[in-house]
Amino acid sequence: MEIDVKRSIMAVVTMHGDRVCGGGAPVFLAKDEQELESMAAAIARVMAGMVHEVGEGILIIVKH
């Protein structure tokens, strides 16, 4: 049987390390906006997740 994680934050990508605390999901720090987007897009593609913006410069990748 295949087990698949759903409705869970797979990763957090942010430019503001001080506003995100480590928790269940790995946190990736980006140095600028361009890197923020490319990192989020790469992780989302690998994990088949969706990128959501929860605040300025804070992106989460969620598997629905």
């Binding site: 989302a44 593609r45 969706m50 959501h52 992106l59 598997k63």
Partner: protein
Amino acid sequence: MLTIAMSIVIGTLARWYMLRIDSRMYPSYPQGYLIHLTFGAIAAALGAVAVPAVMAKDYQAVTFLALAATQFREVRSLERETLQNMENTELVARGTAYIEGIARVFEARNYLALLASLLTSLVAHLLPERLVVAAIAGASVPLFLRRAMQGLRVRDIARFCEVPIEFDGPMLIAGGIRIMNVGLPDTRRKYLEKGVAIAVIPKDANAKATLSNIGQHQAMLHDVAGQLGVLKDTGEAEFTPIARRDPVSGQVVLVIIPAERNIEALITAVGSVPVLESVRRRPLSSKAGRLAD
């Protein structure tokens, strides 16, 4: 003997006729075709021998009909299982409600073959001199039931219109309804350039209740994506077509990036989606529903 053979042929033809009219519901693989024709022939055979058995006072033969019912329930689970196993391979899932609906149709059509041959055999026994009448009576069963069994389509219970897609920060908004949070600017651009949003506006309170079902939303998305194609590949969750409902008006907005951006084709596709029989609601038939309307 002739009447039995004739009933079987007519029952099988009835099943064949129902296989043909619905190409979309039917994944047209030759094996599946054969499976259902064979089941139809078995159903027809059971219907055909029931009348002569009763005439010969062999009442035990009727229990065979009960056996048939069990067999046809198997057909339902067979179809359900196949479609559920396929679900992971679909870019846009059918959803459990749609699968259940399709499986139920397959079961029902076997009973139709049984009824057609039963009626043929009955009329043939009552009027042994006029076998043509029996054939016509049997053949009329699928012809009459075809419309009745087709059920409603979404276009019968709703109107459609295109609504603009816009963004409020990361939030995708279509027709005033907040649809989803899109994080990547690239994805937002693609939605603005190529995305289409269709509002499905229920015609009355019954339609509003029916269209609130998530299974019905998924069925619409699956059929639209199947008929118009969707600009999405595995792993691209952000381009999965999505449906959201306005809780106040009851209208459902579908947002999709189709392979072909043709509004008329989109509306036709949404309109021809069947209203799933198991999700239909009729609040207007109750006193409370009428008072609330």
